[in-house]
Amino acid sequence: MTQAYDKENELIATEQYKIGDLLSRLWEAEETIRAIYSGEADAVVVNSPSGPRVYTLEGADHPYRVMVEQMHESTVTLDPKRLILYSNPQFAALIGAASESVAGSDFERFLAPADASLFAGLIEAAVAGGHSSGELHLRGANAATIPVRLSVTPLDVAGMQNLCVIASDLREQRRNETILKEERLSRLILEQAAEAIVVIDQQGVIVRRSESANLLARKPVLMEPFDGAFHLTASGIRLDTDRILTAMRVGEEITGVEAQMAHSGGATSALLVSASPLSSQGNELLGCVITLTDITERKRAEEALASQAEELARSNSDLQQFAYSASHDLREPLRQLAVFTELLQSRYQDKLAAEAGLLIEHAVSSAHRMEGLLKDLLAYTQAADAPQGPAAYTDANEVCRKTVATFEAKIAQSGARIDCDPLPVLAIHEVHLTQLFQNLIGNALKYCGLEPPHVHISAERSDGLWKLTVADNGIGIDPAYKNQVFGIFQRLHGGGKYSGSGIGLAICQKIVQRYGGRIWVESELGRGSRFMFTLPEKKNEAR
């Protein structure tokens, strides 16, 4: 029993010793790792069957450290809180910061704010998948954004989840892409240009061309001599590369020169030709860019428009001539009819029944009325004709005063009052302004109610126009007829109550329209009328 107990105690003592030994070796190992980790140890001595061997830590780390310091890419290591533990000089240079200020900074400080969530995603992906990469922007000095490709790799160091981040600068690549894009764009612009554009060299050979140039020449023109592809003449003289390049050399401009292009088969195109020189930096002429704008269609349209305008003018003049002849030539037989009817009456008065005299009177008065209408029609057709002499400015005060004077008798008879505000000088022929006042003031006096007529003439200016108003206190016009009153022979009153043929306002409208103005009336029955017309302040060519 005792023997067995002693054996057990001995075993326990042995195991306890072993445990003590193991604990002491574990402490030693832990201490070594701590020293390595904290940088206190530069080398480790390991006992081997052939004796102790020294392993320098520097020997293992050095090549990688050098590689990291010298490599092209920028790199940093981050601790789990994204604080920069280490940065190589390239990273500091990339973001334009001093190396010593980088370590210890939050990495986000160097990240474009908009890309913060993108970066968080990259880290998440790296932790989950062992590696991730993506393009985002760093924030450099002066808030410049630097496009970079970031590669993120988790680094498990002594139980700490650190990260290794490598940033590749994409600026150069982006620049190249931009240049490439611009070049492609330029080429596209040239190719897609609606105008035919060609670039010729000093020998007159086409070295670049737009697609439209091929269409215009009706064949591929690249590397062809310009003169063979485009047979141009301007003002009857050949417009060839000799002439164009000579012009470029002496600094003569070729801009929008109208030229004819002869196609094989006899057809021609109308073109506008422009050329700009292409010079080297040493100012030597390398060639030029020639733009050929096809204006054949435009010219055709212009010609069509011009011929339409001519046609219209002719038909207008025909119409005018017709109206003139109708009113002029019809008057002659009518006049004779009236005179002979009277002659009949005077010659045979004694031999005719009493009623015959009345019938003859009606016939004569009808003939006179018709003659009056024809006279008015003639006046209307001639109303807006340009009087001789240049278009002039006319003092409206003077014309108004003279016109009012012609109504002197009527004014005295009706007890009318005429007030005339100060009026402007108007860009209108005196004879036309006289006609306007004569008709408008005449109407104001004629269409009066029971009260004596009161006419007020005034003027106001706005937006480059003069507006003249002739207002009265007369019988007014039913607004339903406010446009009709300006028609030819439009009358609102029958039964001979108010004389006139209804041509006056039509003449006024024709005159005002000739000067680019407008005439209208504001009125209510029994409340007077306000006739207004506008005339441009400045003289413009009569229509």
Binding site: R335, V339, L343, S346
Partner: protein
């Protein structure tokens, strides 16, 4: 009706409308003028007469009544030809027209018309033509009652 020594005078009437020739005769008759009337119903005939006068083929008219709007050669041409005539270039001329535009009037006087008569549409006014002719003839040939 008045009678006087103007009756042996001769008038050239250039007028294509027979109705107006009739009225001209009526107006002269009304004024008691029984002059000899030579009628040309177009401008060419009138010019031929003037050519013949200048060639001594016939007597010169003492007064012309010329409608502006006659066929072939219009009244203006007749007036121009008359004013170039060595024998009767100073003869009084009454230009006649239905229309009465200022331009026509002005042109007629520029070409040497003595008077311008706008053909009226009332009998009384038309008869005034006779008076006008009398005044012009008396100015040139004197009165003899």
């Amino acid at each position: 009706m008045k009678r006087d020594n103007l009756e042996q005078l001769s008038l050239l009437v250039v007028e294509d409308s027979p109705a107006d020739v009739f009225l001209v005769r009526e107006a002269l008759k009304e004024e008691g003028l029984s002059c000899h009337l030579k009628i040309a119903d177009d401008g060419e005939k009138a010019i031929n007469i003037l050519d013949d006068v200048d060639a001594g083929g016939q007597d010169a008219p003492n007064l012309l009544l010329v409608d502006l709007n006659v066929p072939r050669q219009n009244g203006e041409h007749v007036l121009e030809r008359l004013r170039r005539s060595p024998r009767c270039g100073k003869t009084p001329v009454v230009m006649m027209s239905t229309s009465d535009t200022a331009a026509e009037r002005k042109r007629a006087f520029e070409l040497g018309a003595t008077e311008y008569f706008c053909k009226p549409s009332t009998l009384a006014e038309f008869m005034q033509l006779g008076k006008l002719v009398r005044v012009l003839l008396e100015q040139r040939h004197g009165t003899a009652a």
